[in-house]
Symmetry: C2
Subunit: 200 residues, 2 copies
């Protein structure tokens, strides 16, 4: 396995949800690892002047239909949750708290959080909902709930978001492979081709 | 061959250029025809408040790099022309004038215009440049040059652009397959999957 590829996402991004289902398998097939980096898309939107897809006329309706279609084609459960989008601070902070202990556990948590929100349509805004999810995977839910209120963990997510923006991330999902940037769930094929081309 | 699929594009859209290289072959493999419909992306941008990709901070730089990468991966010539973007009224009007005589000739003209602009970086704004291209393919260049100044042909492009917008087109390239909408060069795989799913 070579150096890791960075997968940037927001827990409230539908196309990130779809990408999360297959990014690790896609990269493993290329002999590469992947590290996951949740960040706050809302903080990025403030800088770029972007807005959640569902709020954009015409394109918003297209995306609603596209997500349903993508779920069916990928054979992945899909629900447009209400509320959508949501603040994802608690889920993202929990991810980093878990990641420091066990990166595999953090990924399992991320997939469970995505499935709860987009697969079953249940809100994951609250710290309690996030801690319960982590506890269900074997983590210490009470310790996580305490940590979610700590300034250190809040700062960690701010730093990760700032680093993503500094690295050139302008949407989600976003991938950085040895400095090469790829934007969108539609580009997993290109990441594969690019890695194989570099190895050749 | 079933009913035709509609391919909407603008002659100044890089991702339309890439899609034009393979849309017909992709659909023929599914037993479907494709009709081509150039329209004015600028007229759409006025409604949606969008802007040419190269003018958007960060994303613009990403796209410049992505077009180069796409050209290499598709083995298609790529140059970011200067000026870019350009007014594409002459090319689009010429397309419809040719399309009324011979749809295959119109497609060959479209591919030649794309290649001139994005493959070789030569401006195709002027009516004279467009007429010369068409003449090189066997069309009556003088008659086309006269037609390009006619109100009827100008109105034709206005109508085609209005019809595209009415149909829900919000970017380019855009595809409508039996009422199903697909946006972007990245979605040819999905069009294929969708057609096969409907046929099954």
């Amino acid at each position: 396995m070579g150096d890791s590829v960075r997968f940037y996402f927001d827990f409230s991004s539908p196309y990130s949800y779809f990408a999360a289902q297959k990014i690790d398998a896609t990269l493993e097939a290329c002999g590469r690892n992947c590290t996951w980096h949740p960040f706050l898309l809302g903080a990025l939107f403030k800088i770029t002047g972007s807005a959640p897809l569902t709020t954009i006329p015409i394109k918003g309706d297209y995306c609603r239909h596209d997500w349903e279609r993508m779920g069916k084609m990928m054979n992945v459960a899909w629900t447009l949750p209400d509320p959508f989008p949501i603040p994802t601070q608690a889920a993202a902070r929990a991810f980093y708290w878990l990641d420091d202990q066990d990166p595999d556990l953090a990924k399992r948590f991320a997939l469970a959080a995505f499935d709860t929100y987009f697969g079953r349509g249940r809100d994951i805004t609250a710290a309690e909902a996030v801690a319960e999810l982590a506890a269900g995977l074997g983590a210490d839910g009470d310790a996580l709930l305490t940590a979610l209120g700590d300034d250190a963990l809040k700062q960690r997510l701010k730093d990760e978001t700032a680093q993503a923006i500094d690295a050139g991330v302008f949407g989600a999902p976003f991938f950085i492979v040895d400095g090469e940037h790829f934007w969108g769930n539609d580009r997993l094929w290109m990441i594969k081709r690019w890695i194989k081309g570099q190895a050749a």
